[in-house]
């Protein structure tokens, strides 16, 4: 039989003989690896989302109703949903922006509409403005006229719609049928939305002439953007005016903090796992002293014995890493679905990370006990001392 295959055989038999202990070690390693994997996946996905959001804004100021601040703070990360819909009065907004050096603006009204039994997020916009302000919208089909809609590519795939189809969307106050004029893809949030003319949205939600968000492109001639925002804020009671850069900055800052927290938690868990591996391993080595002495008496070199124990650590580490990856990506999927409302893709790089973490833990944790294996005196251990 080949020497490596024999080594593997012995290692597996030894692990199977001490089932309970092996399972315990495996559990610890898998848990640590799964934590690293899931936090890694979540935080990298969050980073991507934030970058996407920041890149997306064409306007430099955003006006939001004061009550919806929670959503703002997370910068479109969808941390929380708006519990109480809050609106801005459209006419007051228009009056103010008209004489405050705002060259372009777009009004948005966000809400949920129902198509049959399915609820979907929808936004009322002025397509003419959108076309001008958001040149990166890639539209399959044409720009819509009155009573026509644009649908995000992901939503279209879900509803199996394409340009030219008709969709009946119902709000709390009324329903209407729209012809889908085009399918939009931006790679961002828009892919999941249905866009209909602003007036139709207002009718559907029954909110009169209100909007939930206004994005402004303010000229900064003479004053800084910050001053401009402060002035607008004074003129618009009940609303919050933010610089887009500020939104980006807060969400990036928040992200940094969350990631730091995650890193700390991970470090603590890893240290705990390593020490528990170390204690279990040293127990094992103590228990197996007689066996080690016997192997040495049979003519095993110190390295030969070490190889057996390292083999056990490696097998445990790799298995733990594999199990941890499966577990961790499952957790990450769940978290992303429930908290961030996006589905996470499978990233095999994290399988490598997971295995590496688990392997390192297993080897580091057993380094100390290994040293004692190295030093063990065969005569004394055989006598059972």
């Amino acid at each position: 039989m080949h020497r490596w295959r024999w080594l593997m055989h012995i290692v597996l038999k030894s692990l199977a003989y001490r089932q309970g202990r092996s399972l315990l070690l495996l559990g610890v390693l898998a848990m640590a690896a799964s934590l690293v994997t899931s936090l890694g996946i979540v935080s990298s996905a969050m980073g991507l989302r934030v970058a996407e959001e920041v890149r997306k804004y064409g306007a430099n100021l955003v006006v939001l109703p004061a009550a919806a601040r929670i959503e703002v703070g997370s910068g479109g990360l969808d941390f929380g949903t708006i519990t109480e819909p809050a609106y801005l009065p459209q006419d007051a907004l228009l009056r103010v922006v008209g004489n405050e050096g705002v060259t372009e603006y777009s009004l948005h009204l966000r809400g949920h509409l129902k198509a049959g039994a399915l609820e979907m997020p929808a936004e009322g916009v002025d397509f003419a403005v959108i076309r001008r302000l958001y040149p990166w919208w890639q539209l399959q089909g044409g720009w819509p006229g009155a009573d026509e809609a644009v649908i995000g590519i992901d939503l279209a795939a879900r509803l199996k719609l394409k340009a030219g189809d008709r969709i009946r969307a119902a709000g709390t106050a009324g329903a209407r049928e729209f012809r889908v004029a085009g399918v939009v893809s931006t790679g961002g949030e828009e892919d999941k939305l249905l866009f209909i003319p602003l007036a139709r949205m207002q009718e559907a939600l029954g909110v009169g002439s209100s909007v939930s968000q206004a994005r402004l492109l303010a000229q900064t001639g003479g004053v800084t953007l910050e001053q401009r925002a402060a002035r607008l804020q004074g003129l618009l009671p009940g609303s919050v005016v933010r610089e887009v850069r500020q939104v980006a900055r807060t969400s990036e800052g928040l992200l940094k903090k969350v990631q730091l927290l995650m890193a700390l938690v991970t470090a603590v868990v890893l240290i705990a796992a390593a020490s528990s591996v170390a204690s279990t391993m040293s127990m094992t080595v103590l228990e197996r002293g007689k066996e080690i002495g016997l192997l040495k008496a049979m003519g095993a070199t110190r390295l030969g014995v070490l190889l057996l124990f390292c083999g056990e650590a490696v097998v445990l580490g790799l298995t733990g890493g594999g199990v941890g990856y499966l577990l961790g990506s499952g957790i990450a999927r769940f978290v992303m679905k429930t908290v961030f409302m996006v589905s996470a893709g499978i990233d095999l790089r994290f399988a490598g990370l997971s295995c590496a973490v688990s392997l390192c833990l297993a080897l580091l944790g057993s380094a100390g006990p290994m040293m004692s294996v190295f030093r063990l005196d065969p005569v004394r251990s055989l006598r059972g001392e």
Binding site: R3, L7, I10, M298, G299, T301, V379
Partner: protein, 224 residues
Amino acid sequence: MVTDIIETRGLTRSYGEICALKPLDLLVPEGEWLSVMGHSGSGKSTLLNLLGGLDRPSGGSLQLGGEDLMALSEDGLARFRREFVGIIFQQHHLVPYLTALENVMMAQYFHSVPDEAEACSVLERVGLGQRLKNRPGELSGGEQQRVCIARAIINSPKLLLGDEPTGNLDHQNTGMVMELLKELRSEQRFTIILVTHNREVAAWGDRIISLDDGVLVREERTRR
């Protein structure tokens, strides 16, 4: 002219203050069966560990098969153990999670490469052809000791050391084991050194030496 396989001059071993083995001069010709007698604490196990390369002497010289054990490194001693010596212990030390066959193959693995067919044939030779796949826990004391013998002779050692190999066995099993050793010796012509406190067992040897308190007190030849 028979050469001496073991040659010690003033061999001592002390643990701190306690001197377990006083200076000992011993010559063992190749192919001899030597019995070492003495009660517990007389230094006979210490002598055996020194001869098996498990322990290092505190003083004197120790030549085994032309090799100076004092000069060997730790790994050199390991190589010496696996190529030159086979050891049978009192408590039949076997690896608990391996079958009889695997225990024998383990010795092959450390020596060179595992060879299942050869290990099987040796186990058959010691009469365990039916018990290959049994773990030590499922074997009787006599069977376990025979596995140990198979493991000790699998690498064709020049020197077979036994530390009270029959200490835990009843009369019948003792007879079987000793008979087996005798047969194997006539086949493979290795040198045997058996440590025992049992006069009857010692009488199987060609020569008996007695140790007391680390000193050689008596030496006699048996009739064989």
